[in-house]
Symmetry: C2
Subunit: 334 residues, 2 copies
């Protein structure tokens, strides 16, 4: 270990409305000492994910983050004290280390990562977001060549990879995003067939125009009104990949759901299925192989949005929730 202090970001209070900098507090404490079975991890990059905000709303697939807790968050770290575990000093690991410089974590709750360059790809295309895109689209979406795939939050870390995999699979790919700059990136750089700016276009009309054969697969990262609009234009036997609901994360919980459920699901025999990436753990190796091949052959272009400094982590999340980022956002800590 380094002998320096450990900076930690505390979630001071649970936001009732939108998340702001006032909900966080930076404090310093001693670098923790790992106990039995634990290692000391030096955090290098913190992954910024919309789900971080959902964790403040209550129990999800993990316990809620409560007021006074160190803010939870996945990160890429380096083992500095392996203790009595099988990990070695210098090993790269992935896990929930929280928003801080150092974390003492049980070795069993960390995943050792391979060494590759750039290491940031371990948080983007080869990390949770890339794997989420991969399994969501291939396992739940089951795309067939010629089908129409619509993706929301399409310029985000998951959406941008999911859309490019859709192109690999021969789909017509339509991305929904929140700025003209993002639209230009999706169609100009990533090969999406159409991009829709939901802030300036009428989403119903834009979808109708972009999807002349209606929608077969919807990769949903947002929920809410966009989900509703898509539902009304989904084909028989359509599949809706329920990956996230960011429209409902940054504020009070939504008081209504999308119209057409369950009526349209019955009439058009639509499947909606929620998932999290760890459901597919046993198939990670094959996923890595496919993703690495597509990156190597230029079929997937990786974009990362890297901010600097632990102290900027709150603003990184606030900005992500406001749609600032293109591609995978993370914070370089060390």
């Amino acid at each position: 270990m380094s002998g320096t202090k450990n900076r930690q970001l505390i979630l001071k209070e649970i936001p009732k409305g939108k998340l702001g900098p006032e909900h966080f507090q930076l404090r310093e404490s001693d670098v923790p000492k790992p106990g039995t079975g634990e290692v000391l991890v030096k955090v290098r990059y913190i992954s910024i994910d919309a789900a971080n905000r959902a964790w403040m709303q209550g129990t999800t697939y993990r316990a809620a983050v409560k007021a006074g807790d160190i803010m939870a968050g996945y990160s890429l770290g380096e083992v500095v004290e392996p203790g009595d575990t099988k990990l070695k000093k210098g090993d790269l690991v992935f896990g929930d280390c929280g928003w801080q410089d150092y974390a003492a974590r049980p070795a069993t709750e960390l995943n050792r990562l391979p060494g590759l360059e750039p290491v940031t790809h371990l948080l983007s295309v080869y990390g949770i977001t890339g794997l989420t895109a991969y399994f969501g689209l291939t396992e739940i979406g089951a795309p067939k060549s010629g089908e129409t795939l619509v993706i929301s939050a399409a310029a985000g870390a998951v959406g941008s990879v999911a859309g490019q995999i859709g192109k690999v699979k021969g789909c017509r790919v339509v991305g929904i995003t929140g700025s003209d700059e993002k639209c230009a990136w999706l169609t100009g750089e990533l090969g999406f067939d159409v991009a829709i700016n939901y802030k300036t276009e009428n989403i119903h009309e834009a979808l109708q125009k972009a999807c002349p054969d209606k929608i077969d697969i919807y990769f949903d990262n947002v929920g809410g009104e966009i989900l509703e609009a898509v539902l009304f234009q989904t084909n028989t036997n359509g599949r809706i990949i329920c990956c996230g609901a960011v429209s409902g994360y940054d504020g009070e919980l939504p008081t209504k759901g999308p119209r057409g459920i369950p009526g349209l699901l019955v009439v058009n025999r639509i499947t909606m299925r929620g998932f999290i990436v760890s459901d597919f753990l046993e198939r990670f190796t094959k996923a890595f192989q496919d993703l690495a091949e597509w990156v190597a052959t230029g079929k997937i272009k990786v974009r990362e949005d890297i901010l600097e400094g632990l102290e900027n982590t709150p603003q990184a999340l606030i900005g992500l929730l406001n749609g600032e980022n293109l591609g995978k956002r993370m914070v370089k800590v060390a």
Copy 2:
């Protein structure tokens, strides 16, 4: 043919609110003459289904019924003039013959049925509703012994069979229905573990009490608030069988959907899947065999609610939408 007149029930206007007798008109016309490839069918029993009302709302898996049309409806009929087709005089057939005494229908749109007694079972347990219960539960619900299965409209034609199949599969079965009489029938006669009267009980509390291990499978016939209540108590990897949405059929289309979608689907990895029975056509033979065995061994008790007279068909549907029936409702025409 018989030489008599053909009575027909016309949908006079599309109801804006609840369906009433004023929306129908009885008229007489000549018995139709079958054209090339058509047969003349004498309608014996008309199947009364909640879906009949949904057909008035717009296009579903079939074209909408429009003002001035003969009211559509499935029925069990007897071929009286087989014309140039492969069917024979006296054959029992199933198809959409409409609410009338006689129909001229293409032979290719009729299913020939086996002769068995009572013949009404061809519309109930061995008909669309029994098969819907069978495929919805076994294919989409995929029940495992010890799981908790909740069913809405549980005393209806589909729900009452689905619940009994759930018991065959070893599930804890909880039925939701609208009267104490129905509750008593579900638990006293059909072997449901618990029955909830949603009109007199708090549905959230009643579900909590009835499902101490939460809900694994929900056979949804109603949508709306009951779907929402179930969603909030569904386990990880839960399955929601979207079979119908009767809460939204008899009136204006719902202006909101259930809360928790898609958020809860993601967090708990829930699958919602809509279906119609014809999606499983190639497995009908196996379904018949299973159902016949369960009926023969008393594992499925069949209840039929048979009204008499074509002229009473509108009231039969209106009553069904108001929850009058126990088991499969049909109208004996001849």
